[in-house]
Symmetry: C2
Subunit: 429 residues, 2 copies
């Protein structure tokens, strides 16, 4: 158990999350100190605009314009990095770790791109590098996966990791509005990032998936190995037709260790409507972890916001205050395997959305192409025409993704195909 | 970080869970050692029947007939207690802690009754007392609640904590079978305890709730303060009528810190069917934690079984191997408050099941009694008669539990009341 000297925190970034950390320490400070065995004290802060009022008393904390200088201050034991991005944030984190100081960060992009190098730097100096707040906000999933399940060989990790996307998909379903309208609403409400591609394009969620996969499988973070596809091509009709067949559409991250290597996908999938993941509404996040001993454990909660993210930051700080130190990704950085990327990937059933010319024989041509590729049909529904178009949905039996792609290319080349066919994976959760 | 000397484990109990621990260490031992920073080695075991084959090689481990002797062996660093009960198990745990040795236990009954004293004993010798396996099986909820959310003032903890009860309730719903038939099936399948009262009477689940409440609120375990009611009076009709109105019936534990003290209830409740807790099927457990910063986090997974419980035991052992030591209930035992018990309890809406004589004016008499007690009606449905009986269901507006009890006594006294009325709390989750 650590001593009773305060843990001296340097807080880099006073945006939503940084202000949340200050509020939480001010409001619950005594209880936090009791759990930590000693007080947490913010001794210095750094942010772009010193004058802005953040609703917290900063008079006791020194000010540094430069986050690197903040990290190196002698009265800072641990750097909390909630700046974001890979510029000054990365420089400050590198400086802190290089000086043997602990780091707590909410920065998924930085870790997804530089996680392996930062973990090695932390190990070299025996410094803690903690990142609960980087994935799934307030849900303590890094603690659960990184410390709670060490007896297991993890077989699959899944996550609904971007609240904006889930808000858009479930709001489309509830209100019957189109994708573009709901996205615009989300932007007005401040849910979507300034560059929506990071959210709806799946990049933000993929950053988080790559981090979960590294921790789950003991591998170096391989963000470039994530197959990413956003939700932009999901239509209201897809959502309705999936519901017809007992599914909901989620931007789902899946990481699996296959015989030929690591499979990481972030893409819109169909999941059973009655499952915990299928039942998620609004901005809620969820992570499901599967291990050979435990079976499946699913955690559900708020994936973003000042309070939840600050809660995660404080959790890491209390661990550091108590001396609970473990390697950033569960194993020493030198022991993290460089993952092979699975080339084939796992089999799954697929939802195929086709737009066919409404004329005799069109379906027969499609069925012929699928048969030629050994893609077998589980269910098929043709919906009411729109003019000369006949919307058709096919659910396949389980097959390889590359087989589906090849079959889709064949269907797209048919002259009865009026729009590019779309395939969505059906993930059994 | 701890050294590379093996952590020497004394395993007391070789039933389902003990055998599961041995299997997991045999199968995943190398990976577990990598995560722990050193090997875990079972140096000695104790069980009632030495001759029985448990499917694991025990030739490397010494045998002790007496678990206390096992705990005191010089080649045992940590005692894993998976005997159960409060006889030899308690004696062994006391001996180990008294000798300054760490203890990992799955024994919820022992902790519910003796948790405060054992925590004090552990603190006195600086020994770890860990019990992830005692609550919700493989779900790492003690880690999440005890270490992952220290920034929060916890406001409510809820749990579906007995798999047998949830199996019975969801199987009644699915198959239309009666309570007694499904219970008999569960007993044949080995789901229900030998003494079913421990399961269906709510005692097992109440043990776990008392432990969660102590950890959540920083209080001494107060099992005697849990208001317990089992599922024996739930009928198929209750389940169907709750479903009609958008609810499912769950044996739900709820612990809340009210202005006048701690409220702990374990009772059948109605919860919204679309919620994560409402969606639970079969033997699955779930725990929902609410904090002022994080909002609500819910964890779902297997609540029992050899693999999940062994997974939890190994999690605790790895923490001990790594030197991650914290007080058994989050705060030093001496700092745990002795909780006042909330006398009024929180308000809730209620489901009332009435059986009335089918004659004019019967409902008016009921409404009059409810009005006299200031219980206001939200919804009412009368179902088809059975002979001269008219089944009636009423959902009330939020009110105090004691008010509902008083009103129910008034209704029971009416001569139009043909069976004792039953009230089930509707918990908003």
């Amino acid at each position: 158990m650590a001593g009773t000297e305060p843990l001296r925190v340097g807080l880099a970034g006073l945006g939503t999350v940084g202000a949340g950390v200050l509020r939480l320490l001010a409001g619950n400070g005594a209880a936090i100190a009791a759990r930590a065995g000693r007080p947490l004290r913010v001794t210095a802060v750094s942010a772009r605009d010193r004058a802005r009022d953040r609703g917290s008393d900063l008079s006791g904390a020194a000010w540094e314009a430069d986050p690197v200088a903040l990290a190196l201050r002698p009265d800072v034991d641990v750097l909390v990095e909630v700046i974001g991005g890979t510029g000054p944030a990365l420089a400050a984190v590198e400086a802190a770790l290089g000086a043997g100081k602990a780091v707590v960060t909410a920065n998924k992009a930085m870790l997804a791109l530089h996680g392996a190098a930062l973990a090695a730097r932390a190990d070299a100096r025996g410094a803690a590098l903690r990142w609960e707040a980087a994935v799934a906000g307030g849900i303590p999933v890094i603690k659960a996966l990184g410390e709670g399940l060490p007896g297991n060989r993890i077989t699959r990790v899944m996550g609904v990791l971007n609240g904006t996307c889930n808000y858009i998909l479930t709001t489309m379903e509830k209100t019957g509005a189109d994708y573009a309208d709901v996205l615009a609403d989300a932007q007005r409400l401040g849910y979507a990032e300034a560059d929506p591609a990071v959210d709806v394009g799946g990049i933000d969620a993929a950053h988080k998936l790559a981090l979960l996969a590294a921790l789950a499988f003991g591998t170096r973070v391989d963000f470039a190995g994530v197959a990413i596809r956003g939700i932009g091509e999901i239509t209201l009709a897809d959502i309705r037709r999936a519901a017809d067949m007992g599914y909901r559409v989620k931007l789902l991250g899946v990481a699996r260790m296959n015989a030929d290597g690591l499979e990481q996908r972030m893409e819109p999938c169909l999941v059973p409507a009655g499952s915990t993941l299928g039942g998620l509404e609004g901005v809620t996040n969820a992570v499901a972890i599967e291990g050979d001993a435990v079976g499946q454990v699913t955690m559900v909660g708020p994936g973003a916001g000042a309070g939840p993210t600050a809660s995660a930051v404080i959790g890491d700080l209390v661990d550091i205050a108590r001396g609970n130190v473990r390697p950033a990704f569960g194993l020493p950085a030198a022991a993290l395997a460089r993952p092979e990327r699975s080339s084939v990937g796992s089999e799954a059933a697929y939802y195929l959305r086709l737009t066919l010319r409404d004329r005799p024989g069109a379906l027969a041509q499609v069925a012929t192409v699928l048969g030629e590729h050994d893609v077998s049909i589980d269910r098929m529904r043709q919906y009411g025409h729109r003019g000369t178009e006949a919307p058709v949905v096919i659910l396949t039996h389980p097959t390889e993704g590359r087989t589906v792609s090849a079959a889709l290319a064949g269907i797209a080349a048919l002259d009865v195909s009026l729009a590019d066919p779309v395939a969505l994976r059906i993930e059994e959760v």
